[in-house]
């Protein structure tokens, strides 16, 4: 079998699957977002107007944004700090690491048991606490993998030159972690949409108004089967997510080029 033939054979199933289950349906969604689903008539940006005008969409978008704006910076700093603190290998550090990861592997049912006992109510702050407690361990591992890639010689050289721990972290370690930091950020960004899971376990399908997230409004539209709003809302979300990530990536890329 020729080389080219084999490559095509290996890559084709993945491309076909992505196309059938993700890409083509999504293109169809973009198209349908400009039509009225019941009459099939062209609606221009009408569906988008409906979505933007909807009070509950604005509430959900604002809540989701607020949740991200608080949880992502807190988790970025917290997980990095713990990773730096635990980067030296020792038995105690190993157990500390397992401890930080524990909430991540704790099944949903266990977490909901805790929520029930720890908190009387389930509002925004409680959700934030549970979410950060649960996922910080994952990002700590990602940071640790980046720290492991920073050559040890750099550390030795810095100490030989008389730099203290603090100077080493600030001037050598952190600048070398930009790439990993970006990966962490992207994961946090994607995962913050999944906070629906924690909310579902804490409160079921009908949460308090201040933790009513985008996933909830989509679920509601799904139940009412408002296809028009769903497709316009989905396209709107997708475009803003992709544009935002692209902007962050380009900013980082520009910084890297400037640094050489």
């Amino acid at each position: 079998m020729s080389k080219r033939c084999l490559n095509v054979l290996l890559v084709l199933p993945s491309i076909a699957g992505v196309a059938v289950f993700w890409a083509v349906p999504f293109l169809r969604l973009i198209l349908s977002s400009f039509f009225q689903s019941q009459t099939g008539a062209w609606n221009g940006f009408g569906n988008y107007m409906d979505v933007m005008g909807s009070q509950s969409f604005r509430l959900a978008a604002a809540n989701t944004l607020k949740f991200m704006l608080i949880s992502i910076p807190v988790m970025l700093v917290l997980s990095l700090a713990i990773a730096v603190f635990l980067s030296e290998k020792s038995i105690l550090n190993m157990w500390l690491k397992e401890g930080v990861i524990l909430p991540l592997v704790m099944p949903a049912a266990a977490v909901s048991v805790f929520c029930g006992i720890l908190f009387d109510s389930s509002g925004f702050e409680e959700l934030l606490f549970i979410y950060i407690w649960k996922y910080t361990g994952l990002y700590m591992l990602v940071w640790l993998s980046g720290i492991a890639n920073v050559p040890l010689e750099l550390k030795d050289a810095a100490y030989l030159d008389g730099a203290g721990e603090f100077r080493y972290i600030k001037d050598i370690l952190l600048p070398n972690l930009k790439q990993v930091g970006f990966i962490c950020f992207v994961f946090m960004f994607i995962n913050s949409f999944k906070v629906f899971r924690e909310i579902y376990l804490m409160t079921g399908s009908y949460p308090d108004e201040n933790i009513y997230m985008l996933q909830h409004i989509f679920n509601n539209w799904f139940k009412e089967f408002s296809v028009d709003k769903m497709s316009a809302g989905a396209v709107l979300s997708a475009v803003s997510i992709l544009l935002f990530l692209l902007a962050v990536f380009m900013l980082l890329d520009k910084g890297r080029r400037r640094d050489g």
Partner: protein
């Protein structure tokens, strides 16, 4: 100073593991005793575990549902993503770039965006309300393809070239040279998928009405008639179960993450 640091760490370890201890204590406590934060039950009893394992059929069904979902999805993802990612490192750069960008775009979209399109596809394929409808879309996830691609492309080029010079066929290069080096990255995919699909809630909640196909994550013990002891026993059992798998793969997971996060 150093000793104080050690003491602090021991205390921290205790705090971090406290939830697990709490679940264990709760599960060993007799029904009557549970009234708040107990650490040492006065009359330890395994009755909750007996009840969980023998008297609650739903638990069995949902537990095995979750296990089979996770196994099917992970096996499928690896079978599709690993060969595809390796082939991606060989094809023309222009074509590769298009595929990678499309994969990234698909991988970052949250469920709220995917929900309606996914529903329509499943409806067309007659896969609604059946386990395959949950498994198949996830098998073709783009994330494992990306992880494996970055891991393969960070392998030294000389590795493949020297195998080719030695007369290995393309398939042998993949199977005998690239694949063994990529084991940590595979472990990374497995762990990420395990964490993701063990706790999968959105898809089954929306696409599966028949509750006998539900995964364990949707089992809400709160509204059932079981005692708190059983809930604790279940939570403890599941925590330890996943934690053990995780610890088993952790070394590779960390190694795999570093091969990916290299420039």
């Amino acid at each position: 100073m150093k000793r104080a640091g050690k003491g602090m760490k021991l205390l921290l370890i205790f705090v971090l593991f406290y939830p697990l201890l709490f679940l264990l204590a709760g599960s060993l406590t007799g029904e009557m005793e549970i009234s708040g934060w107990v650490l040492f039950p006065q009359y330890p009893t395994a009755v909750s575990y007996v009840e969980l394992l023998f008297d609650i059929p739903e638990f069995y069904v949902l537990f095995w549902n979750s296990v089979s979902y996770v196994i099917c999805i992970i096996a499928g993802q690896l079978a599709i993503a690993v060969p595809a990612a390796w082939a991606l490192t060989n094809i023309r750069p222009a074509l590769r770039k298009v595929i990678i960008v499309a994969d990234i775009a698909v991988a970052v979209l949250p469920f709220q965006v995917r929900m309606l399109p996914e529903y329509l596809v499943l409806k067309d394929l007659n896969l609604l309300d059946c386990p395959a409808g949950i498994i198949l879309p996830e098998v073709f996830s783009a994330l494992p393809v990306l992880i494996m691609y970055y891991s393969f492309s960070n392998q030294p080029k000389a590795l493949k070239e020297s195998a080719r010079v030695d007369g290995a066929t393309e398939f042998q290069v993949f199977y005998k040279v690239s694949l063994p080096v990529a084991v940590p990255a595979i472990a990374t995919c497995v762990i990420l998928a395990l964490l993701e699909y063990w706790n999968m809630i959105e898809q089954p909640l929306m696409f599966i009405k028949n509750k006998s196909y539900w995964p364990l994550a949707l089992f809400s013990p709160g509204d059932a008639e079981y005692g708190m002891g059983v809930v604790f026993a279940m939570a403890f059992f599941l925590s330890v179960f996943v934690l053990l798998i995780f610890m088993l793969l952790q070394k590779y997971f960390e190694e795999g993450l570093s091969t990916i996060s290299k420039e």
